[in-house]
């Protein structure tokens, strides 16, 4: 299901959604330093294989990622692979530097979480998560967001549901917003060494950046995720996933 114009007519998938048409960070790569170029280009062209998740788990995770970072507005050839980045982190046991005492190891948490999600789907719909409708899937994930899963309680006793949900969302956004196509979508300038930024004030674009051209859009009809409610209704998730530090 695709996004729509405010009058309800569909918007066709685009090579580059967002409000900065024609903007391309990759077009500037010759002005980046060599190491940055190497790391960013590898991210685009060398998508890691799935090694941590089993085939069944990967199938479920693919669907979950497509709910957490939906990309139906993107031309299929320009969708950003999310799952390989998460699998790669877990396969290489790359922690963020800590684990909550009420959480198992990150990898174990994913395996348990996938089992619990299937238990919820079985409990509510008598089928596996991947075999139920999109809206029903969205609602199950929303129940994790609210901290109120309908089943899998034996697992949620071993693992804090909100911490699991935050880790899942964090892992998805970490992969998506690391990709230069996502930078183009949101109008982020990207690497700027050694060339520098010069227009620091007033939101003005650099010569190679473009100005914003907004359009209004509605999320697909079968989703419940285009709204903002705090995770488990709480403002104070201290210690929830690290964020690259701000200060």
């Amino acid at each position: 299901m695709n996004i729509r114009k405010p009058d309800g007519r569909p918007i066709e998938p685009m090579r580059q959604p967002g409000y900065y048409p024609g903007y391309s960070t990759l077009s500037q790569q010759k002005f980046w330093d060599a190491k940055t170029r190497e790391v960013v280009l590898a991210r685009v062209s060398n998508v890691p294989p799935i090694r941590f998740f089993s085939a069944d788990q990967a199938r479920t995770m693919e669907v979950i990622c497509a709910h957490i970072i939906p990309q139906d507005d993107r031309d299929p050839a320009y969708r950003i692979p999310i799952l390989p980045g998460i699998d790669d982190r877990l396969w290489n046991k790359r922690h963020d530097g800590y684990r909550f005492e009420d959480m198992p190891d990150d990898g174990e948490a994913f395996r348990l979480g996938l089992r619990a999600i299937d238990e919820i789907a079985q409990h509510l719909h008598g089928a596996l998560f991947v075999d139920i409708g999109w809206r029903e899937q969205d609602l199950i994930l929303e129940s994790l967001h609210h901290g109120k899963p309908a089943a899998g309680h034996e697992i949620w006793q071993r693992m804090n549901v909100s911490r699991f949900w935050l880790m899942l969302v964090q892992d998805c956004v970490e992969v998506y917003y690391a990709h230069p196509w996502a930078w183009d979508e949101i109008g982020y300038g990207g690497p700027a060494y050694p060339r520098a930024y010069m227009r620091l004030e007033g939101g003005l674009p650099e010569p190679w950046e473009v100005d914003e051209q907004r359009y209004d859009w509605l999320a697909p009809e079968d989703t419940v995720s285009d709204k903002y409610e705090l995770v488990a209704g709480e403002e104070s998730h201290y210690g929830s996933p690290g964020q690259g530090g701000t200060h």
Binding site: A34, D96, R99, V169, I186, Y197, A219, Y238, G239
Partner: protein, 578 residues
């Protein structure tokens, strides 16, 4: 444009080790032969260890600085990229718990030579004189064993050694000015100034921040690319990797990277004899030293002391007070984000360039003691998305929508003082790391004064954001920095080290990093840690050979040895402090 003025588009071809686009690591570096006893082993070459190794080697001591992580080559190792910067952070496992658990890794922990100064935002405010007297003045926590006057000259020194850019007049605490001029404003700083000005709040523009606004020696000026927290490839942001370690090497210090110190050894005479460490190949080795200084920061320093437990110190080396690991602190770091109709583009300019300390001191009209600062921050897209996940509960299409609005948001943050508590602590976990060493387990809770301070600070920061013209304001609860867990004091019953960083229990074992701070104020700790390190160095140099042979404690204050500053730093600039 094939040959940019500063910096390189292509990978460096020659064998130089680059510290920024111009500066190179002095070669060759001294290597002490295996089996040789050195004067000082320093464990951790970060804010504290970097300055110490520079001072001690310049004074002629034989020094080895160990670091668990790499000796960074900024051109070959660092990237202008959020996701690619994980190697800069200490991401080894730690277990975190309590009612309000701390996050580690990118939030507050560095790895590799330079330590956290490689990825700090480089705000460099001083502590206020009141910060040293919480017990006397506010009836909470403890007084420091030293006063502001004891550290003031070291603040002045470090502000020139980094050097710090800032306004000619900084009105809070002990008012002072900066020799190097302030930075131009970015979009976020403009918002903070606008909001504060509307509310009649004084605000400091363009610093104080340890980032060059003009070129300095073999370091270029800032290019405003916004990747301070991902390591400054430009060489404009001060880190001990580029400000002090090169001078240490020129003066004969050895830095041993990729070597994890696993244990400090105690001899029969209750003096330490050296350290065990895992070399880069994972082989355990022993390095003899006449004195050991632990500079591993607030988690790894207590962890190493616990892992060095031995007969006579069953609860951890130098821990007869049971204070090792206790009184761990983080600062309140609530981030307040505001959406504006106009574009901000907050990824440009250093995140740290504008701040106010108007609410720093205790105000009897409030229902809590101590206070907070408000500072500019500049999350890049991944950090922004994670903030929105918590601040707004964004996921799915809501996340995509807010991501597309990234350039309309500005973010400023609370930096608030949380009080030390004995139950906020580091212990050892049952879990072991890849080397077989037990990892740290951290417990953290917020108490009554902390909760009231956070609620007030958050509200005030939100008021500033609204006053700046935001159309929507949200916030994310989080922490910033770490200090404490091996605090200094005059009483060996209630503190781990004395006023010079010497452990009360062992005469030739020292601690010199953020962990010795008894309280933290609302200032970013990096400047204070480096100032304390320079002061400890002056003490060690004054004591000379006595450190290596005597158990007697001479508490005579040392003279300030400005001549030991790296060349071309002290005595430059105006005000020309003498």
């Amino acid at each position: 444009m094939k040959r940019p003025l500063l910096g390189q588009f292509e990978a460096p071809r020659n064998g130089s080790h680059w510290l920024g686009p111009i500066q190179r690591l002095p070669q060759p570096m001294r290597r002490f032969p295996e089996g040789e006893t050195v004067d000082y082993v320093i464990v951790g070459v970060g804010a504290g260890g970097g300055v110490l190794s520079q001072r001690l080697s310049r004074a002629g001591f034989r020094v080895i600085g160990f670091d668990a992580g790499p000796f960074w080559d900024s051109e070959r190792d660092w990237v202008s990229d959020e996701a690619g910067s994980h190697p800069l952070y200490w991401e080894e496992l730690r277990i975190t718990g309590g009612q309000h658990p701390l996050a580690f890794g990118a939030n507050n922990s560095g790895r590799g030579v330079g330590g956290s100064t490689v990825h700090w935002a480089a705000f460099t405010p001083r502590l206020h004189p009141s910060d040293f007297r919480l017990r006397s003045q506010d009836g909470v926590a403890v007084d420091w064993p030293i006063s502001y006057a004891d550290i003031k000259r070291y603040y002045e020194l470090m502000e020139l050694e980094m050097p710090v850019s800032g306004p000619a007049w900084f009105p809070w605490g002990d008012p002072h000015g900066y020799a190097y001029g302030p930075h131009p404003m970015g979009g976020v700083g403009d918002i903070l100034i606008k909001g504060c000005t509307k509310l009649g709040i004084r605000v400091s523009a363009g610093g104080p921040v340890g980032i060059l606004e003009g070129s300095h020696g073999d370091r270029p000026h800032c290019i405003y690319r916004g990747f301070c927290i991902q390591g400054c490839k430009v060489g404009a942001k001060a880190s001990t990797l580029i400000t002090h370690v090169p001078d240490a090497i020129r003066n004969g210090a050895e830095i041993r990277p990729n070597c994890m110190v696993s244990r400090i050894h105690l001899g029969a005479d209750r003096r330490v004899t050296g350290v065990s460490y895992f070399d880069p190949n994972g082989k355990e080795r022993f390095q003899k030293a006449r004195a050991v200084i632990v500079s591993g920061y607030s988690i790894e320093t207590p962890r190493l002391l616990f892992n060095s437990a031995c007969p006579g110190f069953e609860n951890g080396l130098a821990n007869s007070s049971d204070c090792v690991g206790r009184y761990l602190m983080a600062q309140a770091g609530n981030v307040v984000l505001g959406r504006f109709d106009e574009l901000i583009r907050m990824y440009k300019a250093p995140p740290a360039h504008c701040m106010t300390e108007e609410f720093y001191e205790t105000d009897p009209k409030r229902d809590f003691v101590r206070g907070f600062a408000i500072q500019s921050v500049g999350p890049l897209p991944i950090a922004f998305a994670k903030q929105m996940m918590k601040a707004k509960g964004a996921w799915g299409w809501g996340m995509r929508r807010i991501g597309m609005d990234y350039n309309h948001w500005a973010s400023i943050a609370v930096l608030g003082e949380l009080l030390p508590n004995a139950e906020n602590r580091v212990q050892l976990s049952e879990v072991k790391d890849a080397l077989g060493l037990p990892v740290a387990k951290v417990t953290f809770n917020l108490y009554d004064n902390d909760q009231k301070l956070i609620a007030f600070a958050r509200k005030k920061t939100e008021e500033v954001m609204w006053a700046a013209g935001a159309k929507e304001v949200v916030q994310e609860a989080r922490y910033a920095h770490l200090v404490g867990a091996a605090r200094m004091g005059d009483d060996p019953e209630t503190s781990v080290v004395d006023r010079y960083g010497r452990t009360h229990d062992i005469a030739n074992l020292f601690i010199c990093d953020g962990s010795i701070m008894p309280t933290q104020g609302s200032a970013n700790p990096g400047l204070t840690i480096q100032a304390l390190a320079a002061r400890t160095a002056d003490y060690l140099i004054s004591q000379g050979e006595a450190i290596f042979s005597s158990n007697k404690r001479d508490m005579t204050p040392p003279p300030v040895r400005r001549e030991l500053a790296p060349p071309e730093t002290w005595g430059k600039g105006a005000p020309r402090l003498k």
